[in-house]
């Protein structure tokens, strides 16, 4: 429960290939899941079965890439003030 080893380990753990892969994978998939859920719900509500699902599938893919971009973007782009060191701490 020592705070120091925990925070140190998180710095190294986040940089391992497996850590990066897991991180990126979770972000990509979660954006897709949300988008598909929205598309499916809209289709059920409006009775337009494949249309919104298709649109939101594409938007979800874009949102997933945006999530990953936010994680690894150079800090001065997109007006992002959150600094990269903090992002790196997350697994």
């Amino acid at each position: 429960m020592d705070p120091k080893p925990g925070s140190d380990a998180s710095g190294t753990g986040g940089k391992s290939p497996l850590g990066v892969g897991l991180k990126v994978g979770v972000e990509l998939v979660s954006a897709l899941v949300v988008a598909i859920a929205i598309g499916f719900a809209l289709d059920r509500w409006l009775g337009t079965r494949p249309i919104f699902l298709g649109i939101f599938l594409l938007l979800g893919g874009a949102a997933g890439v945006l999530n990953v971009w936010r994680m690894y973007a150079p800090p001065d782009r997109l007006g992002q003030k959150r600094d990269k060191t903090e992002r790196d701490k997350t697994d």
């Binding site: 705070p3 998180s10 929205i38 945006l66 697994d91």
Partner: protein, 248 residues
Amino acid sequence: MAAEPTHAIDALGQFKLEPVIGSLHFSQSNVFMLVAALLTLGLLVLGMRPRAVVPGRFQALAEMAYQMLLDMCVGTIGPEGKRYFPFVFTLFFFILLGNLLGLLPFAFTYTSHIAVTFGLALIVFVIVTFEALRLHGLHFFSYFFPAGAPVLLAPLIVPVEIISYLSRLVSLPVRLFANMVAGHVMFEVFASFIVMMSAAGILGSAASIFPLGLNVVLVGFELLVAVLQAYVFAILTCIYLHDAVHLH
């Protein structure tokens, strides 16, 4: 976590909820939540009882935990972070103790249930959104359209930003849940190997030292994962709160 001595490895049986008190909807998962809450309370109340200037071990632990999370809140969110410190502290210790208690033999890991982690993430999400709306009012919705982007692209950018915002609600719980489930499934599988190999005569018994050793290593790794995932959940909450307080 007892391995079933059958031919099939029952890796997911350990996550089954069993009612503790008959007809009440009170499972062993809830028991461990209560234990975690009482342990956290005990650490703070009993740990801080001596109020020594030079802290003992217990008091030092309580003080270090307090200081670490306060630093995390203030460092990530800014001076406003003090307001959210109790929430982040509670969240961190609830998850940390859930992960750590789950490593004890015969214990149950409540953070290995997506319902629990999703519930926690939902609390975080609602608080973050509520705080952003309270602090910024309708200006909060400018979060979904970055300043300086061409207005023509708004129909494309706004849905993508909204999906990206909502995807936190999925990625936050899944990260914790997947880590916990993966670790405990690995424990179960290797433990089953020990039982199966020792059933295969003296040679198998001797060779079963390898899965046993692997499990010993895995305990250490899972200790790291337990602390790390609690930390990740807490710092991501802080980052989201930072976004809510400062908008971009």
